[in-house]
């Protein structure tokens, strides 16, 4: 515990002190310029990493936000006579404002459309900076003077220390944020947006917040950029810079503050590394060597595909050959960036820090932080009254897809405390019914009432917030998060700290309580020993149980289990039955969709049978099993052979 804290915090302090001390030791304005740029890029890349790393979206607008922030700060000083801090606040504010404005439309989109929206925004902002000559002086460029800070005029080292201080503050704030529920939510929505909504976390608002934050940091970095160079031109913030920034994030390592810092160092130094021919040759030789060794290792151990091993070697080989042939490397700058980026994206997707982190954790044997003791289950999941009152009522519920009547007039009542079985042959409308109830689909007609009040329609998020939780037939876990984090993301009623306090690191107590509660739920489904295992590394059965624990974290009144036994081995089916009984004991009402009749018979007090989108039978499991209509639906038989079919169904 202490060793971990000492090593990680110690390394942060040591780097900060070292960077801060350099201007005292070396009196060289060129070195100072590089260091200042490093600090500014550091802030910029930490922001970019929120979208590229945590949200997993290719964001091509960060260079534009840098430009907007820079012009905002410069114009603030020129027109309003702002001091440095006010101008920086304005730069940050402009980044935040435009980031939010762009986020609302752009973040309804995924992948390529999002990248295109950010690309268009960049082009639009470049056009505006260029053409609005009355304000920005266009291509002619804008002179910016460096204003005083609180009345003090800053010399070059002073300005560098200001940049470094801001970098340290941003670092701390982002570390607090990303290790809180916010950071977990960012990663969760990257892995499964649908489950994030279904767990009541709210995909959209987290995305907007993440992107706005990233843009605000871009704006802040822009303000510093303006006061560092004191001369601005629109074309400095174009596509070229954007590619360099992406290179920084990817090469440094995504989802890592250290990665952003390493990336910032590299891109600050890069122009110098390229301008010296011998140095460049040495770098490409090292690159080729690393690619060859890593590729050969990957191939021998069969951990990488041949393309993944060979392509970086080819790219680095071209770079090496180029460094020997080409006289003026500056002309080939873009190609060099491209080759390096290509090799890293294909061969080292986790970046330098991702690679180094594995290595360092092993070297220093850094243990993960200890887990707290599990909270008492009675606190986490209080017993609910199972009084048999009407909990969920469906009245004539319909959902059509074009001409297909998937659910065609279903009316049923789920009573508090019961396990309500929902069965029917494939294609009978069970899953569609559940998807309508949980808000994935908008009903074509009919009413849904929860405790007499209308259930929200067509929004997973809103339904989740009313106390209905669900699992998914096809697993929708947050596969990159650990088991305990999967549960923590969904916990209801724990995270109350407002975001400014989270940034200040005041959400620690809340985090510990949340973790303890999540562990209690993992214990309930028998996964306490796997709390730290990544969801994707769990066995299939355990993944199913984890989904149930995650749904329970919503503290639901009504839990919908969509074929929880599908694909489970026999021992796991028995375990599942035990888990469902334990949940039922706590008074939680359950809708259970299943094909295994033994599971239904053992657990359900009421069973509804669907076929062709309509209810064909309802009653106890035994009544339903003997119902000729049910037998016909399952087996396609009509008359007196019904009696013989019943045992087959029971199996």
């Amino acid at each position: 515990m202490w060793k971990r804290l000492l090593l990680i915090r110690g390394a942060e302090l040591a780097v900060l002190a070292l960077l801060g001390a350099i201007p005292l030791l070396v009196d060289n304005s060129y070195v100072l310029g590089l260091l200042t740029l490093l600090a500014i890029y550091g802030i910029l890349l930490i922001g970019l990493d929120v979208t590229v790393g945590y949200l997993g979206q290719v964001n091509l607008a960060q260079a534009a936000f840098l430009g907007l922030g820079a012009y905002a700060a410069g114009l603030g000083v020129a027109h309003f006579d702002f001091g440095m801090l006010a101008a920086l606040a304005m730069a940050l504010g402009v980044g935040l404002l435009f980031g939010t404005l762009l986020a609302f439309p752009a973040l309804r989109l995924e992948g390529p459309q999002f990248a295109l929206a950010t690309l268009s925004f960049s082009a639009l902002s470049a056009t505006t900076l260029n053409e609005w000559e009355g304000l920005t002086l266009g291509a002619q460029g804008l002179q910016v003077s460096r204003p005083p800070v609180l009345g003090m005029t800053l010399d070059a080292p002073g300005f560098f220390w200001l940049c470094l201080l801001l970098l340290a503050l941003v670092w701390l704030a982002m570390r607090n944020l990303l290790s809180s529920q916010w950071g977990r939510a960012f990663e969760a929505l990257r892995d499964s947006p649908i489950a994030t909504d279904a767990m009541g976390v709210g995909t959209y608002r987290h995305k907007v917040a993440g992107f706005a934050l990233a843009s605000a940091l871009g704006g802040l970095a822009g303000g510093l950029y303006a006061f560092n160079f004191q001369y601005l031109q629109p074309q400095s913030f174009g596509y070229d810079l954007m590619v360099i920034l992406l290179l920084g994030v990817v090469l440094g390592g995504r989802k890592s503050l250290w990665g952003a810092l390493v990336g910032a160092t590299l891109i600050a130094l890069l122009p110098n590394l390229l301008s010296n021919r011998e140095l460049f040759q040495a770098i490409s030789a090292v690159g080729l060597l690393v690619a060859a060794v890593a590729g050969a290792r990957g191939l021998l151990r069969k951990t990488t595909r041949p393309f993944q091993a060979l392509a970086p070697i080819v790219a680095m080989g071209i770079l090496m050959a180029g460094s020997l042939i080409v006289e003026n490397t500056e002309d080939w700058r873009k190609a060099i960036f491209a080759l390096m980026l290509f090799a890293v994206v294909v061969g080292l997707p986790e970046g330098l820090m991702g690679f180094a982190a594995h290595f360092l954790t092993k070297l220093f044997r850094i243990a993960p932080p200890p887990l707290p003791a599990a909270a008492a289950l009675d606190v986490v999941l209080p017993r609910q009254a199972a009084d048999g009152s009407a909990l969920l009522e469906l009245r004539d519920l319909k959902r059509y897809f074009g001409g297909v009547k998937a659910v065609d007039g279903v009316s049923l009542t789920v009573r508090a405390g019961e396990i309500h079985g929902l069965i029917g042959p494939n294609g009978s409308g069970k899953s569609t019914a559940v998807n309508v109830i949980s808000g994935l689909y908008v009903p074509t007609g009919g009413d849904m009432l929860l405790r007499g009040k209308a259930l929200p329609v067509g929004s997973l998020f809103k339904v989740a917030r009313t106390g209905v939780a669900r699992t998914f037939q096809n697993l929708q876990l947050f596969s990159d998060l650990s088991a305990v984090d999967n549960v923590m993301v969904a916990l209801r009623g724990v995270y109350r700290t407002p975001i400014p306090l989270v940034l200040l690191g005041l959400a620690m107590g809340e985090e510990q309580r949340a973790r303890a509660a999540a562990l209690a739920l993992l214990e309930l489904v028998g996964l306490q020993a796997q709390a730290r295992t990544r969801a994707r590394d769990l066995t299939y059965g355990d993944q199913r149980f984890l989904e149930i624990a995650r749904a329970l974290a919503r503290r639901p009144e009504l839990l919908i289990l969509d074929e929880p036994a599908a694909g489970l081995a026999h021992p796991d089916v028995n375990k599942l039955i035990e888990i469902i009984k334990r949940i039922h004991e706590r008074g939680i009402s359950i809708i259970l969709i299943e094909h295994h009749m033994d599971v239904i018979s053992e657990l359900c007090s009421v069973v509804t049978v669907l076929d062709g989108g309509r209810i064909i039978a309802a009653g106890t499991a035994d009544e339903v099993k003997r119902n000729p209509k049910v037998i016909e639906a399952y087996l396609g038989m009509t008359d007196d052979s019904a009696g013989a079919a019943a045992p087959a169904l029971a199996g």
């Binding site: 439309p105 752009a106 268009s120 053409e131 190609a335 491209a338 294909v346």
Partner: protein, 292 residues
């Protein structure tokens, strides 16, 4: 007289818009099979045009240069698929966005160094003396662009509908997994779509080159507008791109008349962001049903 001027501007703009439509059509081809597009498509347009110019310089007649340039485009398209797209698709990641941007950058840098940074004229046997149609001046060059665009789009659509290979293409577009279970190789089909996409991009480059001149930056604004057209029309909308292309071309021509030529890119960009906000699947696109 004033009205005539506006109509004139709108018509020449719309004819330019056909080129955006053709490049956007190239995005649709790959999006249909693989849900991916080449972010470096602009560089593909530009490289094919420069290569064709080199063919002309060697003395090849124009009617051989066109297929030569198109073949070059196919090769580039296949290269992009192999180097930038296939691995990411196999890993079901969106890494192809970054990788195609990177490959585009590599192509741009190569063009700068091989062909130089200057813009050069692209000779063509098609005359550029205007002819009068209903009082509006149209050059045969502009008309050739429109005809070429419609012809190649028609041929590709015909290929998709009438040949076995084309039907495989449609099958993979409709449902990749089902098509694979029927013995159609999705990888080969995606390859084919990138080849075709490269072909139309190269043709777009050759058609537009005499109008815009040829140089490394010739496609950097072209491609933004092609993106706009593709997204506004919908990435799976077929001929919707032609309508939106005509509209956007006319719109930007009028914008540059009223606001100044520096603003001519603005309407496309604003349209794109608006379209994404209001109709993320495009004006002619279909909303897909989320399944779990």
């Amino acid at each position: 007289m004033y009205t005539l001027l506006i109509v004139q501007l709108a018509v020449s703009g719309a004819l330019m818009g056909m080129v955006y439509a053709l490049i956007a059509y190239g995005f649709q081809l790959t999006f249909a099979t693989s849900k991916s597009i080449n972010f470096g498509q602009g560089e593909l347009v530009m490289l094919s045009a420069l290569f064709s110019l080199t063919l002309i310089d060697t003395g090849l007649p124009y009617w051989l240069v066109v297929p030569g340039g198109m073949l070059f485009g196919v090769v580039l398209g296949l290269f992009v698929e192999r180097a930038g797209v296939r691995l990411a698709l196999e890993q079901k990641s969106e890494g192809w966005i970054l990788l195609t941007i990177i490959l585009g950058l590599l192509g741009f840098s190569a063009a700068e160094n091989i062909w130089g940074r200057d813009d050069r004229p692209f000779p063509t046997p098609i005359p550029s003396d205007p002819v009068h149609i209903f009082g509006i001046d149209v050059t045969p060059l502009e008309l050739s662009v429109a005809i070429g665009v419609l012809a190649v789009m028609g041929l590709v659509e015909l290929f998709k509908r009438k040949t076995l290979l084309g039907k495989a293409f449609e099958a993979v577009s409709a449902d990749r997994d089902a098509a694979q279970l029927m013995g159609i190789s999705a990888t080969r089909t995606i390859q084919l779509s990138y080849g075709l996409s490269g072909l139309v991009a190269a043709l777009a480059g050759i058609l537009v080159a005499p109008i815009t001149t040829v140089g490394p930056t010739m496609a950097s604004v072209l491609i933004l507008k092609a993106f706009s057209v593709a997204v506004v029309a919908g990435l799976d909308s077929g001929f919707g791109v032609v309508l939106i292309g005509l509209f956007l071309g006319a719109l930007e021509s009028l914008t540059s008349f009223y606001l100044g030529s520096g603003w001519r890119e603005a309407p496309g960009l604003v349209l794109l962001i608006l379209a994404l906000a209001v109709r993320p699947n495009g004006v002619f696109g279909k909303a897909s049903i989320r399944k779990v």
